[in-house]
Amino acid sequence: MRFSSFRYLIKEGVKNIWLNRLMSLASIGVLSACLLMIGLAYLVSVNISNALGWMERQNVFMAYVEEGADPIEVEQVGRDILSVGNIAECVFISREQAFESVSELLGEYKYLLEEFKEDNDFLPDAYKITVEDLELFDETVYHVQQIDNVSHVRSRRESADLILKIRKLVTNIGMWLFIILFVVALFIIANTVKLTMYVRRLEINIMKSVGATNNFIRLPFIVEGIILGLFSAIFTYGVTWYLYRTLVVSTMEGMVGGLAPYVVKFSDVSHNLLAGFVIAGVVIGCFGGLISIHRYLKDEGGVYNVG
């Protein structure tokens, strides 16, 4: 194709959007909302993966002492733990210390804990155990569990299992969300382009009567779809960036400062996110345009009568 023709087709595509600007704006809005939900699902999933990875790398677990054990028994538990083997470090954390550290984690929300202060079951005495060889982690946890007066142990792996389930759920929901929103977005774009086509039906009719090829007729509408998709992608990227920074990161830092290290930085995912939005936007726009022009050229393709 000639460059002048190419330039002409792009210009026509832009003109389509302007000609139909209210509908274009509406479809950018809906498409952006779809992309935003997909983007947020992605961000949630990335954060979960990150937390999982971090947890899996932890070689620390907690052994909680039976409620009502006397100080001598508590000490005995400490010695027994060290005799299990593969123990790099074993630190006693009293109920009071645990309470302190949780309050610290909660920062300004620590008043939430006040009512638990007198509840002995809430935070029992515990040993924080660091294993030497991570390979033997599960075995070590098992042996510690068998010690007298150890009520239960909690390794981060247990939470990891829960998080794994959550991730699976989020991934599943994300997949369905993606499919449904993809179809919705496609439908929206197709309708917008169809409306433009209706507005320009006289031009299309003349193009056909003077012998323009179907590709030539089609291209401006595909360009229109792609531009709508691109606009939506860039807009959504901006909104996601803003939401993620202001809402997620800053409230997290304020509320539970201790969680901040697990939160994925936006700059780490920004490339993936932008690329994903642009690809999704362009694909949806392109197909949306194609669908409607295909139907139009098929059903109302007459030259003799103008609709």
Partner: protein, 224 residues
């Protein structure tokens, strides 16, 4: 060249529009296609520009066989003819110049070819001075001349016109047909549908008359 061989046409609705139509229009001819309303004149135009295919028989136009040709070749068939409609079909928001240039642009012509060709064609139809006007700012006769300019701009070997004077008053109609005459003298085949017997009488050309889908008379002769 246009050739109809034993053409029958029945629309999906069941209406039979053409019955065993045979005629041949040679390159460089000027032919009037006449007949009462519903006789099948527009159906013949639609067959020529391959909007529809015949139910039986063959339609051959400039080397293309209507029925056998591939769909993707339709645009190239249409580039061999210029089509003029009764209702002008000008794009209202484009100037006279742009309306004509549009037909070249969408068939992939270069900018420089367009800048050379369009003024020449506008001059040919006598509308150079209206190039910057919008369709709503010129008369019906002038609008149809723009329609003709657009049909001519891609240098087709023939002009197909369905009642081109149907929407303009008598005096201007004669001017339009004079213009068709002029174009025909320069070598372009003209097939013009009309109701207007005065026009047909005044311009001495071959006349094919249709009635109820049948060719009832043809002053040109070599129908078969």
């Amino acid at each position: 060249m246009i050739e109809f061989k034993g053409v029958h046409l029945t629309y999906n609705s069941g209406t039979t529009a053409l019955v065993d139509v045979n005629f041949r229009v040679m390159d460089g001819e000027f032919v009037f296609l006449v007949g009462p309303s519903g006789a099948g004149k527009s159906s013949i135009i639609k067959l020529i520009m391959r909007e529809i295919v015949p139910s039986a028989g063959e339609v051959l136009v400039n080397g293309y066989n209507n029925k056998k040709m591939k769909k993707r070749h339709i645009p190239y068939l249409r580039r061999t003819m210029g089509i003029v409609f009764q209702d002008f079909r000008l794009i209202p928001h484009m100037t006279v110049y742009d309306n004509v240039a549009f037909a070249m642009r969408v068939t992939g012509a270069s900018g420089s070819a367009i800048r050379k060709r369009v003024p020449y064609i506008l001059d040919l139809v006598g509308l150079s001075h209206k190039a910057r006007s919008l369709p709503c700012q010129i008369s019906g006769g002038e609008q149809q001349r723009v329609g003709l300019a657009r049909a001519l701009v891609n240098n087709p070997s023939m002009i197909i016109a369905d009642e081109p004077t149907g929407n303009i008053d008598a005096q201007l109609a004669t001017d339009i047909v004079d213009l068709f005459d002029e174009i025909n003298r320069r070598g372009t085949t003209v097939l013009m549908v009309t109701h207007d017997t005065k026009l047909v009488d005044r311009h001495k050309h071959r006349v094919i008359e249709l009635r109820n889908g049948c060719v009832v008379s043809d002053t040109g002769g070599d129908a078969r």
